[in-house]
């Protein structure tokens, strides 16, 4: 099997679906002639032309709303936001329209829409670094997908395109990988041991709401998303040498959330660390902690540890960004704390 980077895997998913279904279109800023700011849509304009790949003006609310209108009338648009941060310009269309239309219309509205957005801190300061998942996990009516590996990315993306509901796919900029034409070394991370992963050539789907146990273990459960999956795996590899066995669970989709896989692991290890890149306050780590506390309280031998970003706009200076965003040592320290008693 060949290895693909995550960017390649997402591109292959989009291309295969666009080849097999003429109603699938791609819209966004610089996605066409420029091949996408992170080159995720490399070559797609050339293959599909301007009626399938739409280079939009910088009008996020406008093209998001147009994607909804197109979805309501028979197309299956994929809307790329150049940075997840820019989604806030289109919040009304995403939260008030896309996510609510099915219910408001009594089930008449199908909204087969995929929103793709790169996120995560990469030295670009407060408006190009945010992790936005908590806002949308808090928005009933849409799904939230977070692929951490190329294999997951392709299968989840194809599922997303085939679904008749709005799906937000959040991609971490550092995970796009060196094999991505736009990626390069700047977009890799030392904790990602291997950039590519095995990805089948044929189209395949991964169902939503099925967490993946990225590493089995028995002493502590680490629940992590996106790049934190890789940091957790690196930590787990190191701690193994100290005789600590970590289980690393990647929920893959926050909505729907595979509570059962998480709770099963908690019932086995009795100790939990949650590692996410969004800010701690009102964040995904807080939500996961709440679920575990309410549904597996009797199985916990220590309080759940949240490893999340500090409650601050992300500062520019590299030392400050590194302090704000969870690193391997933060996850490792949290594991030590839950194992203390």
């Amino acid at each position: 099997m060949r290895k693909l980077s995550l960017a390649d895997a997402i591109r292959e998913a989009m291309i295969q679906e666009m080849r097999s279904n003429s109603n699938v279109i791609l819209m966004g800023e610089d996605v066409g002639r420029f091949n996408g700011a992170f080159h995720v849509s490399h070559g797609m304009f050339e293959e599909f032309g301007p009626k399938r790949v739409w280079d939009t003006p910088i009008s996020e609310a406008g093209f998001m709303g147009m994607g909804i209108g197109a979805a309501l009338t028979g197309l299956r648009p994929i809307i790329e936001f150049q940075y997840a941060d820019f989604m806030y310009c289109a919040m009304d269309q995403i939260v008030n329209e896309a996510a609510k239309l099915r219910l408001m219309s009594g089930g008449q509205a199908n909204v087969p829409l995929v929103i793709r957005a790169p996120q995560g801190a990469t030295g670009r300061a407060a408006q190009h670094s945010q992790s936005v998942e908590a806002y949308f996990m808090h928005t009933p009516g849409m799904y939230v997908v977070m692929p951490s590996t190329p294999y997951d990315a392709k299968g989840l993306m194809i599922s997303a395109i085939r679904l008749n509901d709005p799906v937000l796919v959040l991609e971490h900029k550092l995970l796009y990988g060196a094999a991505s034409p736009g990626g390069g070394k700047a977009l890799t991370d030392q904790t990602i041991s291997e950039i590519g992963s095995d990805v089948p050539e044929d189209a395949y789907t991964i169902p939503f709401g099925k967490a993946d146990i990225k590493r089995a273990g028995s002493d502590v459960t680490i629940i992590a998303t996106l790049i934190m999956v890789h940091r957790a795996l690196a930590v787990a590899g190191e701690l193994e040498k100290e005789g600590i066995s970590c289980e690393v669970i990647d929920p893959r989709t926050l909505v729907p959330l595979d509570e059962e896989t998480i709770l099963q692991s908690v019932r086995k290890t009795n100790r939990v660390v949650v590692a996410t890149e969004d800010v701690e306050r009102g964040g995904v780590s807080a939500e996961l902690t709440s679920i575990i506390s309410r549904k597996a309280f009797d199985f916990l031998d220590a309080p759940v540890e949240c490893v999340a970003a500090d409650n601050t706009p992300i500062p520019f200076g590299p030392a400050a960004e590194k302090h704000v965003i969870p690193q391997m040592e933060d996850i490792r320290d949290a594991v030590y704390r839950v194992l203390k008693d």
Partner: protein, 342 residues
């Protein structure tokens, strides 16, 4: 503070090109919209109806004049003041009335209410409760028509308040850039809740506001259904033939308050009384009978038909089951994920 006076905008009725069947349809739709809302008002007064509503009393000619030039499969987006647009696009009174009563046999199964009425089978994509939200959505429906090669046209109705939302400008720019078949209809009823247009628009000639985006526009007498129809027909025909979007301003007047029982104490009574004399249904009746194109008895027959339709719609609504406490659960997602996405 000045608002536009009837004498500044009225156009004479010109019946050229209208046969009596079309005129009867226009009248029927206007009376349906009027009487439907009058009945709602009464039902709210007697506390028989939950929720809220926004009346388009006196604005019916805009909805009816525009929607009556559309094909059944053309698309419309509407606003919080959307009953007339739905009725003009032939959404059934039964399903609308049942929705107002929050019944399971309502247009939106009792999940949407007045501000989210829609009927996808009629191309009515929704009354959007957020001001301006339907504008890019209609624009996207027009883009979809181009991609699918169907020659369908989309119309977005919105008010003078919505024209200052960012999505209006973003949408016109993209529609013009890509020559999308979409008609933007500014239903200028001269008040955005309490705010007269002069206090919130730096340029009050609203149909000129497409010029930044090379979108042609025109202002018409919005209380003259024939003037609206003719302007819309030209715009729709051009859009269908690939000439791109159009911005149509229909000047009218919001005779009632903003919502339900709101009393518009921010404007002079004389202004309301003056505009009431230019009521679109009244003017149409007078012009059509004076010209001898429709008779009093033609009109009366339609009035009676509508009266019966509305009584029937109430009976239909009352025969429906109330929305259950758990009905909503089936409408949050498609349910497709549970069954697999292959």
């Amino acid at each position: 503070m000045t608002i536009r006076k009837p004498e500044d905008v009225i156009e004479p009725f010109n019946f050229e090109g209208f046969d009596s069947a079309l005129l009867k349809t226009l009248y029927l739709r206007m009376v349906r919209a009027r009487e439907f809302e009058e009945k709602l008002y009464y039902l709210f007064l007697t506390i028989k109806m939950p929720g809220t509503m926004h009346q388009a009393t006196g604005q019916e000619a805009v909805a009816v004049g525009v929607a009556s030039v559309l094909n059944a499969d053309d698309y419309v987006t509407s606003t919080h003041r959307g009953h007339a647009h739905c009725i003009a696009k032939d959404v059934s009174l039964n399903s609308m009335m049942a929705e107002m009563f929050a019944k399971r046999n309502g247009a939106c199964k009792g999940m949407g209410g007045s501000m989210h009425l829609c009927d996808f089978s009629k191309g009515m994509l929704g009354a959007f409760g957020i001001v301006g939200a339907g504008i890019p959505i209609a624009t996207g429906a027009a883009l979809s028509s181009i991609v699918r090669g169907t020659r369908q046209v989309a119309v977005s109705f919105f008010g003078d308040g919505a024209i200052n939302e960012g999505v209006f400008h973003e949408s016109l720019n993209m529609a013009s850039l890509w020559k999308l078949p979409v008609i933007y209809v500014v239903e200028n009823n001269q008040y955005a809740l309490s705010m007269p247009n002069e206090l919130e628009s730096a340029v009050t000639d609203l149909s000129s506001r497409g010029c930044s985006y090379n979108v042609p526009g025109r202002t018409v007498d919005g209380n003259n259904v024939l003037a609206v129809y003719n302007a819309a027909r030209q715009a729709v025909e051009d859009a269908r033939n690939g000439k791109g979007p159009f911005l149509l301003e229909c000047v009218t007047y919001r005779v009632r308050g903003h919502a339900r029982f709101e009393q518009p104490n921010y404007r002079p009574k004389e202004e309301e009384e003056l505009w009431k004399q230019y009521d679109p249904i009244l003017r149409f009746k007078q012009a059509a009978t004076t010209a001898g194109i429709l008779s009093e008895s033609d009109l009366k027959a339609i009035d009676q038909q509508v009266e019966k339709e509305i009584e029937d719609s109430i009976a239909f609504a009352q025969s429906g089951e109330d929305v259950g406490a758990l009905d909503y659960k089936q409408f949050i997602y498609s349910g497709q994920m549970e069954g697999g996405v292959e």
